[in-house]
C-alpha cells in the first residue's frame, strides 16, 4: 500500500517538475530571445549612427563585454572586429546576415555551435558608405541551460523523493487505518469507506450462510453420535491404514479399551483372527467372523469402503449374538432330545412286539409284555401331548383368560393327588385363603398338577408337600413347598428347559417326560405371572408362582 502510494506520488511530482521545466524553457526562452534580439537591433542602430559620425575611431573605443561588433567592407573584408585580429579573418561577404544587409540594408541570422552549445544571434546593417556593421551576441542554448541546471534539479529531485516517502507513509497509514479497524466478525457494524459496503454486506451474508451450515453439520454429527452411542451393536470406523476414526461405547467395551480414536486397531485388538478378517475384507469387500469373549458370543462384520485398489476405510460392526447362539443350541438339543425321547419307548414297544410275534414269550408272560407295550404307548402319547401343549404355548394360541378361583382349583388338584402321594408315603396338605385371579383354568391345572407331581415324585420316604394359596399386594401367590431331595444350585437355572433332568439316569425310574416344568414356565408366562425357585439339596424345594392382578400379558 505504502509502496504503491509512494510510487504514484513520486511519479506525479517528477512529471510536474519536468513539465514545469519544459514550460519555462520553452516559453521564457523564446521571450528572452526576442528581448535580446530587440536589444541587438537598437544597439546596432545606435552604433551605426555613431560609426557614421565618428568613423573607425568610435569603433576602437567600443567597449561592450557581451556583444561583438564587426565592421565589414562592401567587398566582405573585415575592417574591424571587437574580439580578435581582423587580419586573420576570412571574407565575410557570404555570411547570411551580411549578404542580406548588403542587398536590403539590414539582415539577421542565428547560428548554432554544437561544440560550445551556444547560439549566436547576428544583426547586420548597411551603412551609408556601403559597408556593413554587424553586432552579435552569444547565449547558452536550451540543452546547455538544462545541463547547467542539472545540479539544482537533482537536489529538487531528492527533496521530492524524501517528501514523497514521508507523505506516502502518512497517507497510506491514514487510508489503511479504517480498513484495519474493520471488525470482520460484525461486518455490517463498521463505518469505513462507502466503497467497501458492498464487500462487507457480501461478507456478512456469507458469514451467516457459513454459520448456518456449520450449525447444520454439528446437528447432524450430534445426531449421528447419539445414534451410534446408544446402539447396542459396536461400530468402528477405520481409515485405509487401520487407524480408528470413530468408535462407539459398545465397541469400546467389546475391545476393553478406554480410548481408541486416532490409534491403530492393532493397538486395542491384536487377535490374529481379526487381523486376518481385516485383510480378507480389504481383499474381498467384506468378511465376518464369530468371536467368543468373556462368556458371550459376538459376530464381527467387516465392510470395506471404496474399491479394492483405492480403499478409503473400513466399517466394523459388532453384534452380540449370544442369545441367537444359545437359542440355536437349545433348538438343536431339543431336536436331539425329542428324537431320543420318542425313540426309547418305540424301541421298547417294537422289542416286545417282535418277541410276541416270534412266539418267544411264555404264555403266562404275555399279559406282562402287552402291559409294557401299553405303558410305553401311554408314555409316548403323554410325551406327544406335552410337546403339542408346549408348542401351543409357544405360539400363544391358548384360550381366553377368565376369572378362576385359585384356592378351589388347587384344593381339587391336591385331592386328586392324595392317592399317588400315599403310594410314595408322602403327606400332602392344602392351606390358604380364597383368591380369584384372572387366568386359564386348563393352564392353571397344568401348573398346579405338574408342581405337585414333581414335589411328590422327587420326595423322600415319609416326606411332606404343602400347597398354600395367599393374597399378595398386587395379586395372588401359589406356593408349593416340599421336603424333597432338592435341586443342586448348578441345575437350578436349567430345570425349566425342555427335557432337562437333574439326574439323567433316573428318568425312567421316576417317569415323566422332562417337559413338566417347561410347561409350567410357559403357562405362567402366558398368564403374566412370575415363577421363582428356592431349593437346598437334601432339605427341600419351594416353588413360588406369583400372579399379578393387572392383566399384563407379555
Amino acid at each position: 500500500m505504502t509502496k504503491k502510494i509512494f510510487h504514484s506520488m513520486f511519479f506525479v511530482a517528477s512529471v510536474a517538475m519536468l513539465l514545469g521545466i519544459l514550460l519555462i524553457m520553452g516559453v521564457l526562452f523564446a521571450y528572452f530571445r526576442t528581448v535580446q534580439k530587440n536589444r541587438l537591433v537598437s544597439e546596432l542602430r545606435l552604433t551605426a549612427a555613431a560609426v557614421e559620425m565618428g568613423g573607425e575611431a568610435y569603433l576602437e573605443s567600443f567597449q561592450v563585454d557581451d556583444c561583438r561588433l564587426t565592421w565589414v567592407g562592401a567587398d566582405g573584408i573585415v575592417l574591424f572586429d571587437s574580439q580578435g585580429e581582423t587580419a586573420d579573418m576570412e571574407n565575410h561577404a557570404d555570411r547570411e546576415e551580411v549578404k542580406e544587409a548588403l542587398e536590403t540594408g539590414k539582415g539577421e541570422s542565428s547560428r548554432y555551435s554544437t561544440t560550445l552549445m551556444e547560439e549566436t544571434l547576428y544583426c547586420a546593417k548597411r551603412l551609408s558608405d556601403g559597408t556593413v556593421l554587424r553586432i552579435s551576441v552569444s547565449y547558452a542554448s536550451v540543452p546547455a541551460l538544462l545541463f547547467g541546471l542539472l545540479q539544482p534539479l537533482l537536489v529538487v529531485f531528492v527533496i521530492a523523493l524524501l517528501c514523497s516517502i514521508l507523505l506516502s507513509k502518512r497517507l497510506s497509514r491514514k487510508i489503511v487505518q479504517p480498513l484495519n479497524a474493520i471488525d470482520l466478525d460484525q461486518p455490517l457494524e463498521n463505518e469505513a469507506y462507502d466503497e467497501l459496503s458492498p464487500l462487507l454486506t457480501h461478507i456478512g451474508r456469507q458469514q451467516r450462510e457459513i454459520s448456518a451450515q456449520k450449525q447444520e453439520l454439528e446437528d447432524r454429527q450430534d445426531e449421528f453420535y447419539t445414534v451410534i452411542e446408544n446402539m447396542n451393536e459396536g461400530l468402528v470406523l477405520l481409515n485405509a491404514k487401520g487407524i480408528i476414526l470413530s468408535i462407539n461405547p459398545a465397541a469400546l467395551a467389546f475391545f476393553h479399551a478406554d480410548t481408541a480414536v486416532g490409534r491403530d486397531l492393532i493397538e486395542i485388538e491384536r487377535s490374529p483372527e481379526i487381523e486376518k478378517a481385516f485383510e480378507s475384507a480389504a481383499q474381498h469387500g467384506k468378511s465376518s467372523l464369530q468371536v467368543s469373549r468373556s462368556g458371550r458370543e459376538y459376530q464381527v462384520n467387516l465392510n470395506r469402503i471404496g474399491p479394492q485398489n483405492d480403499m478409503s476405510g473400513m466399517v466394523l460392526l459388532i453384534f452380540d449374538i449370544t442369545e441367537k447362539v444359545f437359542a440355536e443350541r437349545n433348538r438343536q438339543e431339543f431336536t436331539a432330545n425329542v428324537s431320543h425321547e420318542l425313540k426309547t419307548p418305540l424301541h421298547s414297544i417294537m422289542g416286545s412286539a417282535e418277541l410276541l410275534e416270534n412266539g418267544l414269550v411264555k404264555e403266562e408272560d404275555i399279559p406282562r409284555f402287552i402291559g409294557y407295550i401299553r405303558n410305553e404307548s401311554a408314555r409316548l402319547v403323554a410325551l406327544i401331548e406335552d410337546i403339542i401343549r408346549l408348542s401351543q404355548l409357544d405360539e400363544a394360541s391358548a384360550p381366553e383368560m377368565e376369572p378362576v378361583e385359585l384356592y378351589e382349583l388347587a384344593a381339587g388338584e391336591v385331592e386328586s393327588l392324595t392317592q399317588p402321594a400315599k403310594a410314595k408315603n408322602v403327606s400332602i396338605s392344602m392351606e390358604g385363603e380364597s383368591v380369584t385371579i384372572s387366568g386359564v383354568r386348563q393352564l392353571l391345572h397344568e401348573v398346579i398338577y405338574n408342581l405337585c407331581d414333581n414335589a411328590i415324585k422327587y420326595n423322600v420316604d415319609g416326606g411332606w408337600v404343602k400347597v398354600r394359596v395367599s393374597k399378595t399386594a398386587d395379586g395372588a401367590a401359589l406356593v408349593v413347598a416340599d421336603s424333597g431331595i432338592g435341586i443342586p444350585a448348578e441345575h437350578q437355572d436349567r430345570i425349566f428347559e425342555r427335557f432337562y433332568r437333574v439326574d439323567k439316569s433316573h428318568s425312567k425310574e421316576s417317569g415323566g417326560t422332562g417337559l413338566g416344568l417347561s410347561i409350567v414356565k410357559h403357562a405362567v408366562q402366558y398368564m403374566g405371572g412370575t415363577i421363582s425357585l428356592d431349593s437346598t439339596p437334601g432339605v427341600g424345594t419351594t416353588v413360588t408362582v406369583s400372579f399379578h392382578k393387572k392383566e399384563s400379558r407379555p
Partner: protein, 216 residues
C-alpha cells in the same frame, strides 16, 4: 522428513504389536498341544516361530534404518533402542515355544494329570506376555511393573512342578524320561516368563528412561 519419521515410528509400533501377538499365539499353541497331546498342532508351531524370526529381522532392519537416517534423540531414541532389545526377547519366546512343541512330539501325545500345573504355568506366562505387550501398546508403566511382579507366580509354579515331578519319579521310576521331558517344558515356560519380564523392563525404559532403576 519428520512426517516420514513419524510414519516409520508408527510402523515400528505396529510391527512390534504384531510380533507380540504372534508370541502370545505361539505359546498358546504350544500349551494347547501339550494339554491335548496333539502332535499335529505341535508341528504347526515351527512355521509360526519362523514367522516370528522373519518379523524380528524386519523390525531390526527398520530400527537400524531409523537410527541411521533419522538420528532420533530422547524419547524416540529410547523407543527404538528398547524395540531392538524387545524383539530379541520376543524371538527367544518363539524359540522356547517351538522347543516345547518339539518335546510334545517326542512325548507322542502323552498327557496326564502331571501336566495340570504346567498348563497353569503356561497360562500365567501367556498372561505375562499379554501384559507386557499391553503395557507397550498403552505405554503403561504400572501394567509393565505388574507383569514383572507376575514372574514370581511363574517361578512358584516351577518349584511346584519340580517337586511333583520328583515324587512322580520316586513312585514310577519307569516314567523317568517322561518326567524329565515335562521338567524341560516347565523350564522353557519359566524362561518365557523371564523374557516377558525383560520385555516389560524395556517398556518401562522406553517410557521413563530408567532400566531396572538405573538411568541409562
Amino acid at each position: 522428513m519428520r512426517s516420514k519419521f513419524d510414519q516409520q515410528l508408527s510402523q515400528l509400533n505396529k510391527e512390534l504389536i504384531q510380533m507380540g501377538a504372534k508370541c502370545e499365539e505361539v505359546i498358546a499353541m504350544a500349551a494347547k498341544a501339550l494339554a491335548t497331546g496333539d502332535c499335529e498342532l505341535a508341528k504347526n508351531v515351527a512355521p509360526v516361530d519362523k514367522e516370528i524370526d522373519q518379523m524380528e529381522r524386519s523390525i531390526e532392519g527398520l530400527c537400524l534404518k531409523l537410527l541411521l537416517q533419522q538420528q532420533p534423540v530422547a524419547r524416540d531414541l529410547r523407543q527404538i533402542s528398547a524395540a531392538l532389545k524387545m524383539i530379541t526377547d520376543m524371538e527367544r519366546i518363539g524359540d522356547q515355544a517351538e522347543d516345547i512343541a518339539e518335546i510334545v512330539t517326542f512325548l507322542g501325545g502323552r498327557t496326564g494329570a502331571e501336566c495340570g500345573p504346567i498348563l497353569a504355568m503356561a497360562e500365567a506366562s501367556i498372561e505375562m506376555v499379554t501384559q507386557s505387550v499391553d503395557a507397550f501398546v498403552n505405554r503403561d508403566v504400572a501394567l509393565a511393573k505388574k507383569a514383572i511382579e507376575h514372574d514370581d507366580v511363574v517361578d512358584d509354579y516351577f518349584v511346584k512342578v519340580k517337586s511333583s515331578l520328583i515324587s512322580l519319579i520316586a513312585e514310577k521310576p519307569e516314567d523317568g524320561e517322561y518326567a524329565l521331558d515335562l521338567l524341560m517344558i516347565a523350564k522353557y515356560i519359566e524362561r518365557i516368563g523371564d523374557h516377558a519380564t525383560n520385555i516389560a523392563e524395556w517398556v518401562v525404559f522406553s517410557v521413563t528412561g530408567t532400566h531396572k532403576g538405573e538411568i541409562l
